[in-house]
Symmetry: C2
Subunit: 218 residues, 2 copies
């Protein structure tokens, strides 16, 4: 328990949430940006509704341990990690306020609309009743991203990491013509720290596939 441990599922199917989008990626990405050493551990995907409620009362991942201190909710984990490195959040009070407000905006003004919209979309809703709200919020964000490269503090922060992760969901990315938002997502997901984090997540689940295939054959 001496260092930083990120917890995720031991395996996920190819479906929803798709591989490469499980939210431990947010914490992996932040650690890679900041050069923070971390270990990854897993809880079983099977039985996830009840098998780790003592650590995450909604049965989700990720959660983290930081030298014995325990935190769930990816947004909370990001704000916790952000205090450790200026690569994630500047030290001045104005920069911190901007980072905090845009991190919360990603969670509560964009993702509060985009996740339910996505859920209804993949559920096959013919006339998705959240499409109007979705268009309004993504349009407002497009105006912001058309005017500047970074959400907070004039440079990359954990707020950009989170907003890009919210926006990069394929159905969200394909929603409407939003060139500034598309350029933003492309630029953020081309960062080496993102690419390493995503490759590591994919490798974990691929190894679990191989182990399952071995068990099935054995």
């Amino acid at each position: 328990m001496g260092g930083l441990t990120l917890w995720t599922y031991d395996w996920v199917p190819e479906g929803a949430p798709p591989r490469g989008f499980v939210r431990d990626l947010r914490l992996r990405w932040a650690c890679e940006e900041a050069g923070l050493a971390y270990e990854v551990r897993t809880v079983p995907f099977e039985g996830r509704a009840t098998n780790h409620l003592a650590r995450q009362p909604f049965g989700q991942v990720p959660f983290l341990d930081d030298a014995g201190l325990q935190i769930f909710e990816s947004g909370a984990g990001l704000l916790h990690l952000a205090r450790k490195s200026e690569a994630l959040m500047p030290p001045d009070s104005t920069g911190q306020a901007e980072t905090l407000q845009w991190t919360i905006a990603a969670l509560n003004s964009i993702e509060m609309v985009s996740v339910p919209w996505w859920f209804l979309t993949i559920s096959g809703a013919a006339d998705n009743p959240l499409t109007g709200w979705m268009g309004q919020r993504l349009g407002q964000l497009e105006e912001v991203l058309a005017a500047r490269d970074w959400l907070a503090a004039g440079h990359f922060t954990v707020a950009d990491l989170l907003m890009a992760d919210v926006l990069r969901v394929p159905q969200v990315r394909a929603f409407g013509e939003r060139p500034a938002s598309e350029a933003y997502v492309a630029r953020l997901t081309d960062r080496p720290a993102f690419r390493k984090a995503q490759a590591d997540q994919m490798r974990l689940f691929a190894a679990a596939d191989a182990a399952r295939a071995g068990n099935a054959a054995g």
Copy 2:
């Protein structure tokens, strides 16, 4: 700009969001709990989609000024205010981590479901497609609240303030049989700081009614 200023609308109709639920109440309530002096200022409700985008890019309220430092998003404002007073967040790192994770859980695990569910409900959706998800999350939260009185740190924090504000929406409060959650909401909204904050918000909008009636008569 020397002190704390909370910004809200100059008036809202009786409709949605109903009076007594506009989110400046979250910040008023926090200030009342902590004994922080604050001033309330307003932007026009009419034209809100575009008239204050420079201060709040989604056209919402509240936002706050703290001695010149500006923050939008009620969740970000709460976490900012929480650093000012142990009445809102304990000073130790474990207590802060618990407060942070439950504040984010209120925004991103509960409100991310309850607000879209509420929106579809008041839109008249006959068979609300988010009802299953809503029941799952509120059921998980009921288990937590059945086991303890406070979400974080063993006493009242800004996480309880926010979760209670999310849960007290009438349609959410009426969702299913959840006795621990109901007792929690009743207890939190009976706090003197909440009652003063809500009365002050209602008084502002009532005064605006009177001014509008005077203008109409004059």
